[in-house]
Amino acid sequence: MGRILIVVWALLLPLAAVATSEVYPFDSAADQERFRTLISELRCPKCQNQNIADSNAPIARDMRDEVYRMLQQGATNQQVTDALVGRFGEFVLYKPQFDQRTALLWATPLIAVLGGVLVVIGIVIRGRRRDPSESSLSDAERRRAEQLLEDRDDGA
Protein backbone atom coordinates (compact mmCIF):
# COMPACT_ATOMS: atom_id res chain seq x y z
CA MET A 1 0.00 0.00 0.00
CA GLY A 2 2.79 2.36 0.94
CA ARG A 3 4.52 1.65 -2.34
CA ILE A 4 1.40 2.45 -4.34
CA LEU A 5 1.09 5.75 -2.51
CA ILE A 6 4.67 6.64 -3.39
CA VAL A 7 4.03 5.82 -7.05
CA VAL A 8 0.87 7.94 -7.07
CA TRP A 9 2.74 10.79 -5.37
CA ALA A 10 5.59 10.57 -7.89
CA LEU A 11 3.11 10.64 -10.76
CA LEU A 12 1.45 13.73 -9.33
CA LEU A 13 4.72 15.64 -8.90
CA PRO A 14 4.84 16.91 -12.50
CA LEU A 15 1.38 18.39 -12.01
CA ALA A 16 2.80 20.59 -9.28
CA ALA A 17 5.39 21.82 -11.76
CA VAL A 18 2.67 22.69 -14.25
CA ALA A 19 0.77 24.43 -11.49
CA THR A 20 3.51 27.06 -11.03
CA SER A 21 2.94 28.36 -14.57
CA GLU A 22 -0.69 28.95 -13.70
CA VAL A 23 0.35 32.02 -11.79
CA TYR A 24 0.52 33.64 -15.23
CA PRO A 25 -2.74 32.81 -16.97
CA PHE A 26 -2.98 33.58 -20.69
CA ASP A 27 -5.99 33.67 -23.00
CA SER A 28 -4.27 31.84 -25.80
CA ALA A 29 -1.89 28.90 -25.86
CA ALA A 30 0.27 30.80 -28.35
CA ASP A 31 0.84 33.63 -25.87
CA GLN A 32 1.53 31.09 -23.15
CA GLU A 33 4.16 29.54 -25.39
CA ARG A 34 5.71 32.94 -26.19
CA PHE A 35 5.86 33.70 -22.48
CA ARG A 36 7.61 30.42 -21.78
CA THR A 37 10.11 30.93 -24.59
CA LEU A 38 10.86 34.50 -23.51
CA ILE A 39 11.45 33.72 -19.87
CA SER A 40 13.67 30.79 -20.81
CA GLU A 41 15.82 33.03 -23.05
CA LEU A 42 16.20 35.87 -20.54
CA ARG A 43 18.99 35.65 -18.05
CA CYS A 44 18.74 36.52 -14.38
CA PRO A 45 21.20 39.32 -13.50
CA LYS A 46 21.47 38.19 -9.90
CA CYS A 47 22.01 34.44 -10.20
CA GLN A 48 23.94 34.65 -13.38
CA ASN A 49 23.74 31.15 -14.74
CA GLN A 50 20.00 30.79 -14.57
CA ASN A 51 17.26 32.04 -16.81
CA ILE A 52 14.43 33.96 -15.23
CA ALA A 53 12.11 30.97 -15.63
CA ASP A 54 14.25 28.85 -13.31
CA SER A 55 15.48 31.45 -10.88
CA ASN A 56 13.85 32.06 -7.53
CA ALA A 57 15.58 35.41 -7.05
CA PRO A 58 13.16 38.28 -6.37
CA ILE A 59 14.55 40.17 -9.34
CA ALA A 60 13.78 37.23 -11.66
CA ARG A 61 10.24 37.28 -10.36
CA ASP A 62 9.95 40.99 -11.06
CA MET A 63 11.24 40.34 -14.57
CA ARG A 64 8.72 37.53 -15.16
CA ASP A 65 5.96 39.83 -13.92
CA GLU A 66 7.12 42.53 -16.33
CA VAL A 67 7.25 40.11 -19.28
CA TYR A 68 3.76 38.91 -18.39
CA ARG A 69 2.42 42.45 -18.03
CA MET A 70 3.88 43.48 -21.38
CA LEU A 71 2.58 40.40 -23.20
CA GLN A 72 -0.88 41.01 -21.75
CA GLN A 73 -0.70 44.51 -23.21
CA GLY A 74 0.09 43.08 -26.63
CA ALA A 75 3.84 43.77 -26.77
CA THR A 76 5.98 41.96 -29.33
CA ASN A 77 8.89 39.75 -28.27
CA GLN A 78 11.26 42.45 -29.48
CA GLN A 79 9.58 45.10 -27.36
CA VAL A 80 9.80 42.87 -24.30
CA THR A 81 13.49 42.11 -24.72
CA ASP A 82 14.25 45.77 -25.56
CA ALA A 83 12.51 46.88 -22.36
CA LEU A 84 14.58 44.52 -20.22
CA VAL A 85 17.84 45.24 -22.03
CA GLY A 86 17.15 48.96 -21.51
CA ARG A 87 17.09 48.38 -17.77
CA PHE A 88 19.55 45.58 -17.14
CA GLY A 89 21.82 45.68 -20.19
CA GLU A 90 22.55 43.11 -22.89
CA PHE A 91 23.71 40.77 -20.17
CA VAL A 92 20.14 39.50 -19.80
CA LEU A 93 20.05 38.11 -23.33
CA TYR A 94 21.14 34.51 -23.62
CA LYS A 95 21.05 35.12 -27.38
CA PRO A 96 22.90 38.41 -27.87
CA GLN A 97 21.87 40.51 -30.82
CA PHE A 98 24.16 40.46 -33.83
CA ASP A 99 26.14 43.69 -34.11
CA GLN A 100 29.71 44.88 -34.41
CA ARG A 101 30.69 43.89 -30.89
CA THR A 102 29.10 40.46 -30.97
CA ALA A 103 30.13 39.62 -34.54
CA LEU A 104 33.22 37.71 -33.40
CA LEU A 105 31.16 35.81 -30.84
CA TRP A 106 28.62 34.75 -33.44
CA ALA A 107 31.34 33.95 -35.99
CA THR A 108 33.35 31.74 -33.63
CA PRO A 109 31.59 28.45 -34.59
CA LEU A 110 32.05 29.27 -38.28
CA ILE A 111 35.73 30.10 -37.71
CA ALA A 112 36.20 26.84 -35.80
CA VAL A 113 34.58 24.81 -38.61
CA LEU A 114 36.65 26.57 -41.29
CA GLY A 115 39.79 25.97 -39.23
CA GLY A 116 38.93 22.28 -38.97
CA VAL A 117 38.36 22.07 -42.72
CA LEU A 118 41.76 23.68 -43.35
CA VAL A 119 43.45 21.17 -41.04
CA VAL A 120 41.74 18.25 -42.84
CA ILE A 121 42.74 19.65 -46.24
CA GLY A 122 46.31 19.99 -45.01
CA ILE A 123 46.41 16.38 -43.84
CA VAL A 124 44.95 15.11 -47.11
CA ILE A 125 47.43 17.09 -49.21
CA ARG A 126 50.34 15.79 -47.16
CA GLY A 127 49.07 12.23 -47.60
CA ARG A 128 48.84 12.66 -51.38
CA ARG A 129 52.39 13.89 -51.56
CA ARG A 130 53.67 10.48 -50.50
CA ASP A 131 53.85 9.52 -54.13
CA PRO A 132 56.10 6.49 -54.98
CA SER A 133 57.84 8.43 -57.77
CA GLU A 134 58.83 11.09 -55.22
CA SER A 135 60.53 8.64 -52.94
CA SER A 136 62.69 10.23 -50.34
CA LEU A 137 65.41 7.60 -50.73
CA SER A 138 68.59 8.67 -52.42
CA ASP A 139 70.07 6.46 -55.15
CA ALA A 140 72.68 5.05 -52.78
CA GLU A 141 70.02 4.20 -50.19
CA ARG A 142 67.88 2.56 -52.85
CA ARG A 143 70.74 0.38 -53.98
CA ARG A 144 71.47 -0.60 -50.40
CA ALA A 145 67.82 -1.43 -49.78
CA GLU A 146 67.72 -3.64 -52.84
CA GLN A 147 70.92 -5.31 -51.68
CA LEU A 148 69.39 -6.05 -48.27
CA LEU A 149 66.25 -7.48 -49.80
CA GLU A 150 68.31 -9.68 -52.11
CA ASP A 151 70.43 -10.93 -49.19
CA ARG A 152 67.28 -11.88 -47.34
CA ASP A 153 65.89 -13.76 -50.31
CA ASP A 154 69.19 -15.66 -50.64
CA GLY A 155 69.15 -16.51 -46.96
CA ALA A 156 65.69 -18.02 -47.26
Binding site: P45, D62, E66, R87, F88, G89, E90
Partner: protein, 173 residues
Protein backbone atom coordinates in the same frame (compact mmCIF):
# COMPACT_ATOMS: atom_id res chain seq x y z
CA UNK B 1 54.67 23.57 -35.18
CA UNK B 2 54.38 27.33 -35.45
CA UNK B 3 50.58 27.65 -35.68
CA UNK B 4 49.73 25.68 -32.50
CA UNK B 5 52.17 27.81 -30.53
CA UNK B 6 50.55 31.01 -31.81
CA UNK B 7 47.10 29.65 -30.99
CA UNK B 8 48.17 28.67 -27.48
CA UNK B 9 49.66 32.12 -26.81
CA UNK B 10 46.55 33.88 -28.19
CA UNK B 11 44.27 31.75 -26.01
CA UNK B 12 46.51 32.46 -23.03
CA UNK B 13 46.25 36.21 -23.58
CA UNK B 14 42.46 36.06 -23.87
CA UNK B 15 42.10 33.98 -20.72
CA UNK B 16 44.61 36.05 -18.79
CA UNK B 17 42.67 39.22 -19.59
CA UNK B 18 39.66 37.71 -17.82
CA UNK B 19 41.48 37.02 -14.56
CA UNK B 20 40.39 39.27 -11.72
CA UNK B 21 37.28 40.52 -13.46
CA UNK B 22 34.24 40.06 -11.27
CA UNK B 23 31.42 38.84 -13.50
CA UNK B 24 28.82 39.73 -10.88
CA UNK B 25 29.56 43.45 -11.33
CA UNK B 26 27.52 44.59 -14.29
CA UNK B 27 27.71 48.03 -15.80
CA UNK B 28 24.40 49.80 -15.62
CA UNK B 29 22.45 49.99 -18.86
CA UNK B 30 21.47 53.53 -17.89
CA UNK B 31 24.91 55.14 -18.02
CA UNK B 32 24.55 58.42 -19.89
CA UNK B 33 20.77 58.31 -19.69
CA UNK B 34 18.44 60.27 -17.42
CA UNK B 35 17.12 58.74 -14.22
CA UNK B 36 13.87 56.92 -15.11
CA UNK B 37 10.68 58.91 -14.63
CA UNK B 38 9.20 58.18 -11.23
CA UNK B 39 6.74 59.38 -8.66
CA UNK B 40 7.43 58.08 -5.18
CA UNK B 41 6.39 59.07 -1.67
CA UNK B 42 8.87 60.42 0.79
CA UNK B 43 9.95 57.91 3.42
CA UNK B 44 9.49 60.24 6.38
CA UNK B 45 6.51 62.18 5.04
CA UNK B 46 4.15 59.83 3.16
CA UNK B 47 2.13 62.74 1.77
CA UNK B 48 5.09 64.31 0.00
CA UNK B 49 5.59 63.00 -3.53
CA UNK B 50 9.01 63.18 -5.16
CA UNK B 51 9.66 63.11 -8.90
CA UNK B 52 12.79 62.65 -10.98
CA UNK B 53 13.53 66.38 -10.76
CA UNK B 54 14.93 65.83 -7.24
CA UNK B 55 18.24 65.08 -8.95
CA UNK B 56 18.41 68.30 -10.93
CA UNK B 57 20.67 71.10 -9.73
CA UNK B 58 23.34 69.23 -7.81
CA UNK B 59 25.42 66.10 -8.29
CA UNK B 60 24.14 63.34 -6.00
CA UNK B 61 24.69 59.79 -4.98
CA UNK B 62 21.62 57.59 -5.17
CA UNK B 63 21.91 54.82 -2.63
CA UNK B 64 19.59 51.80 -2.91
CA UNK B 65 19.06 50.09 0.42
CA UNK B 66 16.69 48.08 2.58
CA UNK B 67 16.60 46.91 6.16
CA UNK B 68 16.53 43.32 4.86
CA UNK B 69 19.94 43.78 3.30
CA UNK B 70 22.88 42.94 5.61
CA UNK B 71 25.47 44.59 3.35
CA UNK B 72 23.47 47.83 3.62
CA UNK B 73 24.09 47.76 7.35
CA UNK B 74 27.81 47.35 6.65
CA UNK B 75 28.02 50.48 4.55
CA UNK B 76 25.66 52.61 6.58
CA UNK B 77 28.25 54.13 8.89
CA UNK B 78 30.36 55.08 5.90
CA UNK B 79 27.38 56.74 4.24
CA UNK B 80 26.77 58.75 7.41
CA UNK B 81 30.44 59.77 7.34
CA UNK B 82 30.20 60.74 3.65
CA UNK B 83 27.15 62.92 4.20
CA UNK B 84 28.36 64.54 7.40
CA UNK B 85 32.09 64.99 6.90
CA UNK B 86 32.48 65.01 3.14
CA UNK B 87 29.31 66.96 2.47
CA UNK B 88 28.06 64.60 -0.23
CA UNK B 89 24.41 64.83 -1.17
CA UNK B 90 23.00 61.32 -0.89
CA UNK B 91 19.49 60.47 -1.99
CA UNK B 92 18.22 57.26 -0.42
CA UNK B 93 16.04 54.77 -2.24
CA UNK B 94 14.42 52.53 0.31
CA UNK B 95 13.87 49.45 -1.85
CA UNK B 96 11.24 46.75 -1.23
CA UNK B 97 11.15 47.54 2.44
CA UNK B 98 8.75 48.34 5.23
CA UNK B 99 8.33 51.98 6.20
CA UNK B 100 8.32 51.40 9.96
CA UNK B 101 11.43 49.24 9.88
CA UNK B 102 13.19 51.75 7.64
CA UNK B 103 12.36 54.71 9.91
CA UNK B 104 13.53 52.77 12.95
CA UNK B 105 16.79 51.97 11.14
CA UNK B 106 17.43 55.64 10.32
CA UNK B 107 16.53 56.71 13.86
CA UNK B 108 18.94 54.32 15.51
CA UNK B 109 21.82 54.37 12.99
CA UNK B 110 21.68 57.96 11.78
CA UNK B 111 20.24 59.38 8.59
CA UNK B 112 22.76 60.15 5.85
CA UNK B 113 20.11 60.95 3.26
CA UNK B 114 19.26 64.45 2.12
CA UNK B 115 16.06 62.89 0.85
CA UNK B 116 14.57 59.41 1.12
CA UNK B 117 12.39 57.83 -1.54
CA UNK B 118 10.09 55.05 -0.44
CA UNK B 119 9.75 52.30 -3.05
CA UNK B 120 8.06 49.29 -1.40
CA UNK B 121 7.22 47.60 -4.72
CA UNK B 122 10.65 48.24 -6.16
CA UNK B 123 9.29 50.05 -9.23
CA UNK B 124 12.04 52.63 -9.54
CA UNK B 125 14.51 49.93 -8.55
CA UNK B 126 13.31 47.80 -11.45
CA UNK B 127 13.51 50.69 -13.91
CA UNK B 128 17.03 51.43 -12.71
CA UNK B 129 18.00 47.80 -13.23
CA UNK B 130 18.78 47.22 -9.56
CA UNK B 131 19.66 43.56 -9.14
CA UNK B 132 21.35 43.49 -5.77
CA UNK B 133 21.24 46.01 -2.97
CA UNK B 134 23.22 47.91 -1.97
CA UNK B 135 23.81 49.80 -5.18
CA UNK B 136 25.07 53.35 -5.40
CA UNK B 137 24.65 55.56 -8.46
CA UNK B 138 26.44 58.77 -9.33
CA UNK B 139 23.90 61.16 -10.83
CA UNK B 140 25.00 64.48 -12.25
CA UNK B 141 23.32 67.86 -11.80
CA UNK B 142 21.23 67.31 -14.95
CA UNK B 143 19.82 64.08 -13.56
CA UNK B 144 21.93 61.87 -15.85
CA UNK B 145 23.16 58.52 -14.51
CA UNK B 146 26.97 58.52 -14.72
CA UNK B 147 28.07 55.47 -12.79
CA UNK B 148 26.81 52.55 -10.78
CA UNK B 149 28.63 50.82 -7.97
CA UNK B 150 27.22 47.44 -6.97
CA UNK B 151 28.08 46.42 -3.43
CA UNK B 152 29.21 48.10 -0.26
CA UNK B 153 30.56 51.67 -0.34
CA UNK B 154 33.75 51.79 1.71
CA UNK B 155 36.14 54.71 2.21
CA UNK B 156 38.34 53.07 -0.46
CA UNK B 157 35.50 52.85 -2.97
CA UNK B 158 34.68 56.47 -2.24
CA UNK B 159 38.24 57.73 -2.66
CA UNK B 160 39.16 55.65 -5.67
CA UNK B 161 35.95 55.48 -7.62
CA UNK B 162 33.11 57.70 -6.51
CA UNK B 163 34.86 60.85 -5.34
CA UNK B 164 36.64 61.54 -8.68
CA UNK B 165 33.32 61.16 -10.50
CA UNK B 166 31.40 63.34 -8.05
CA UNK B 167 34.04 66.04 -8.35
CA UNK B 168 34.14 65.82 -12.13
CA UNK B 169 30.39 66.07 -12.62
CA UNK B 170 30.03 68.50 -9.75
CA UNK B 171 32.23 71.00 -11.53
CA UNK B 172 30.81 70.38 -14.97
CA UNK B 173 27.23 70.87 -13.83
Amino acid sequence: MFIPAVLAVALGIVLFAGIGKDPTHLESALIGKPVPVFELADLQEPDTIHRDDVFVGEVSLLNVWGTWCPACRDEHDDLVWLARDEGVRIVGLNYKDNRDLALEWLDSLGNPYALSLYDPQGRLGFDLGVYGAPETYVIDADGIVRFRHVGVVTPQVWQQTLQPLVERYGKGG
